[in-house]
Amino acid sequence: MTTLPQSGTQVPANNTPKKPPVNVLGGLLTALTYLLTFLFFFPILWMVMAAFKTEAQAFQTPPVFVFTPILDNFRVAFERYFPALLNSLGAAFGSTILAFILGLPAAFALAFYTTPRSRSVLTWMLSTKFMPAVGVIVPLYLLFTNLHLLDTLPGLILMYTTMNLPLVVWMMHSYMTEIPYAIFEAARVDGASVWREFFGMALPLSLPGISATALLAVIFAWNEAFFALNLTTSDAAPLSVFIGSFKTGEGLFWAQMSAAAVLTVFPVIVFGWIAQRQLVRGLSFGAVK
């Protein structure tokens, strides 16, 4: 993003050296940025607006921009919100923590204790993401049935852990390889154990990466709908299933569903906002490679 205005200003400056059109162009680019941001933001704005409309207003053509906001939709949505919220929190954080417990040592070993097979192991982990989810749902469903994991929170946590594990290993592997190897050599000379290398050095040095990865893992698990729809019914149904339950073939449902969606994205926005600084640091840390 930051490189865009610079390269943009250089080209016309060479072509027309007399006048400095930098400001005009800069202004245009700023306006364009605002426009693009607004375009990306608009669906969310529209969803929030729809959540405060009556069903008829939410569906009206031409669309309504000025209206008296109502809270009825939220009242309906709140009736079923909290059990789903608890499940989403449990599944998203449970799977993230589990994925880190398993993935961090793996990333550490793959980064600093490389073997000829390290590359293949990494590629293999990524390959579990190649297959579309729908391609594995039947065997998964049968496994879950036989292990009595259908519609249980532990089952959902396990599912999301397998989904997030490759992400954790890959991202943490890339952060850890950024750490100068010489630091570890020096520590070894001083007699540090593998445990001390891991807990005392690798972990603290990759904290920004951990928070960025954790946020991504939480968001992925939070937004996941396909496995949730298929592997849970009522006891463990998370928020993605909760949103779906508002759809109906008879009558209007957009306003209620928008209210449910607003309630669903709200916690993620809060997490993101809290983790914002860490997130930017963590993401740019990997980007300057």
């Binding site: 469903y141 073939g249 008879e250």
Partner: protein, 444 residues
Amino acid sequence: MKSLAALLTTALALGSAQAASTITVATVNNPDMVTMQKLTPEFNKLYPDINVKWVVLPENELRQKITLDVASGAGSFDVATVGAYEVPIWAKNGWLDPLTPAFAKNPDIAKSYNVSDLIPGVRNALTVGGQLYAVPFYAESSMTFYNKDLFKKAGVTMPVNPTWTQIESFAAKINDPKNGTYGICLRGLPGWGENMAVFSTVMNTFGGRWFDNNWQPQLNSAAWKNAMTFYVNVIKKYGPPGATSNGFTENLTLMSQGKCGMWVDATVAAGLLSDPASSKIVNTVGFANAPTGPGTTRGNHWYWSWNLAIPKSSKQEDAAFKFITWATSKDYIALVAKTKGSWASVPPGTRTSTYTNAQYRKAAGAFSSLVQKSISSADVTKATKDPVPYTGIQYVAIPEFQALGTQVGQYLAGAISGQTTVDQALAQAQAAAQKVAKDGGYQK
């Protein structure tokens, strides 16, 4: 993990004092089902030892999930909400528990439930090989809705039994796109349960059929061509723009905002159009039978019902049976009337007694007898002019129809939007139907 599960179970058991068994009911978010969920405490007054859990999903996801669950024997659901189209298919697959033995086992319930009170056509649609496989929660047919104001302005009157030819001439007179009113709103949104539901009734009454008795597809017949040409033209000339994205919900909105002169769709809309909370045409909406075509009077109005059934994989058949016979009983219907304060909002179309009830007739006066006649005269076994090897009015009750209907629905939408001609659409549709008949092993 085990101790955690045990702890949770204890907590659950404590939460619902004496719950001896728990049943899971899978359903959709339609208004009548929302009412059923809210009335769960009333069920518990009768059966305090049965704990009811709800699973609410969009229709297509629900269908997939129940199919997966039943086929794999997972047993997550004890009660499933099943459409009229699936009941015979699922029954033949052995996925549903037959209910006739359960009624024999529970004479008290059988007596108060009174199966013979169910409207005969509805009962027939849920019976396979002499066994009842599901009980109807509510049923619907299709009919004509019209806007009396717009009719008056155009100087035309709607007969009780209109023909499609009359409908077209009315549409031409009413159509006034400059002022945002359209002659007629019909479904264009592709889908076997969307545009194909309405179009199939048009096709039936124009004298067409999907397959002849040897399972040879008939989509290249003159009747199909006439029906599709008619349907496409009437939407193009007198319908709202962008009709291919309009399904039931969209047309309901257009109609209730006074933008359509006429609308041919599900009878459940009668109640919705008469509800001041969602409709602006409460005082001007008129009702008539579904139009008939030049071919036959058969199959011009559809039959659909949402039913409650017990999947074979359920381990709580007794409790599930108690629930489904409660939720479809005469007492339940009266309970809804009492809680909602109006007989017009009871689940319609299932029981003869509903329509002989004086209070219901008064509340739903404008449309009740029309709706009842439509539902009871919709015969899934006699929907076409010529004989057919299948049952169903707006669908063909074979598992492949869901995909075939949606595919043909897309070709129909292509013709409505002008991407293809009717002839091209029909050639594609015929080929698709031929493939189904052949691959499915129907052709001998």
